[in-house]
Symmetry: D2
Subunit: 143 residues, 4 copies
Amino acid sequence: MTAPPPPIVPHVQDSFVRQSMMRTIEATLLAAADGICVIRAPIGPGMRQQHGAGHAGLAFTLGDTAAGYAALSLLPPEREVMTAEIKINLLAPAIGDWLEARGEVIRAGRRLIVIRADVWALNGDQRKGIALMQGTMIPVDPA
Amino acid sequence: MTAPPPPIVPHVQDSFVRQSMMRTIEATLLAAADGICVIRAPIGPGMRQQHGAGHAGLAFTLGDTAAGYAALSLLPPEREVMTAEIKINLLAPAIGDWLEARGEVIRAGRRLIVIRADVWALNGDQRKGIALMQGTMIPVDPA
Amino acid sequence: MTAPPPPIVPHVQDSFVRQSMMRTIEATLLAAADGICVIRAPIGPGMRQQHGAGHAGLAFTLGDTAAGYAALSLLPPEREVMTAEIKINLLAPAIGDWLEARGEVIRAGRRLIVIRADVWALNGDQRKGIALMQGTMIPVDPA
Amino acid sequence: MTAPPPPIVPHVQDSFVRQSMMRTIEATLLAAADGICVIRAPIGPGMRQQHGAGHAGLAFTLGDTAAGYAALSLLPPEREVMTAEIKINLLAPAIGDWLEARGEVIRAGRRLIVIRADVWALNGDQRKGIALMQGTMIPVDPA
């Protein structure tokens, strides 16, 4: 017997597949429920900075998206979230095969949802923290 | 007579073309000298969030890169810079044809270079501020 | 003839005097109108870090308050604002007689007010930038 | 038998008592070792915002100081640290008797020390998270 896959809230999955950026970076939604979301993407050949490490923009994109869907996983299906602001501290170059981001809701208020995210580089069977993020999502009504 | 194009420091240009991410997002380096850098990229079909606006990750990627090259434009050719941290506040959805980011050095110390960046969406002949960034670059020796 | 003093919106003045922290740091409200606010306080003997420069907490307190009242100056008298988040980059030690903070509204939305603030140390007739801030205020109804 | 008090690295204690701001806010250093530091201060009558809650500047001052001494606890006695930048997200009003801040080193590099801090309000026997901080300290040589 194997463990069941982590749960993914359906309206997060629906939103994820509508983001063309997620296809461009070949991201996979691994989990999204109960205020936590995990997303993974390859450090592909078109995603690099000048020394061949993954671009900070890739780490940000994954972390921001994981944090946003961590927030959305707590909201009813008809709501949306937007990023109000995020701060990223880069800890190490993004060297490896994959980046994995884990977003987490710290406090879900009616108007502001405070989030954190961690981003790791996966290099073979090693896992190294490469970025730390802290920010604010806001619930919005769909356009 | 037309105005000369804005100057681009050669070692910034060299570094820019080595970033595969800049090709992926089809970015153009418009200016990089004296602590200021301007970069532009289309809000392409593969760069969108779930409602069709430009992804926050695209705005971040442009702003981070413009800020980094603003810093590098002040350093001698043999140095490099890395992003230590940046914070982004999103002001409005990135709707339009292009995003343009302008990075600027606020204080260039020996160890830390404090930067700001602004990002605009260009929609026809309109220009709207969509993101504000503030952060820190660090000078490094090449690997 | 001398220039008139800068304007101060009455409900900002009322709120300012109700903050006991402003008395503790001996702050003076110099201007508050049209989305801009200026506050000054001495770098007093009880406001120092371990080397005798002004504490980062003093710079933050002034900048946060100036930014908050810049936001409040745009709202009707019956509203209030709260700080949702702010980021501060410290540029230089706070050495001198006074700190002066200038807060400015960058974008006033219905739900989020994005602000910036600058903090200077005034040393005799010299003025040096010591901190840069960027953050978000939210309009709230009074308790 | 009772548990021993948490350890406090001597050079952190020495630095703490030289900060006049710590006396002004009546702060107590509760622990400082191994990259973690805890500081507590009363939400005194002179430390309030306009509604009587603790001022955001008090929360910042405590969190910044706890984060700085978390970093310093990892360095040899002859070094110092300075705050390069910090971001604070405010989670709830600072209502209660005391604020307690816990700073923690996330990554200690040679040039940059990435930290996080949490701040709680203690109200009778209740403890509520009121702020979340993320930032960068830099090791420096004493002046």
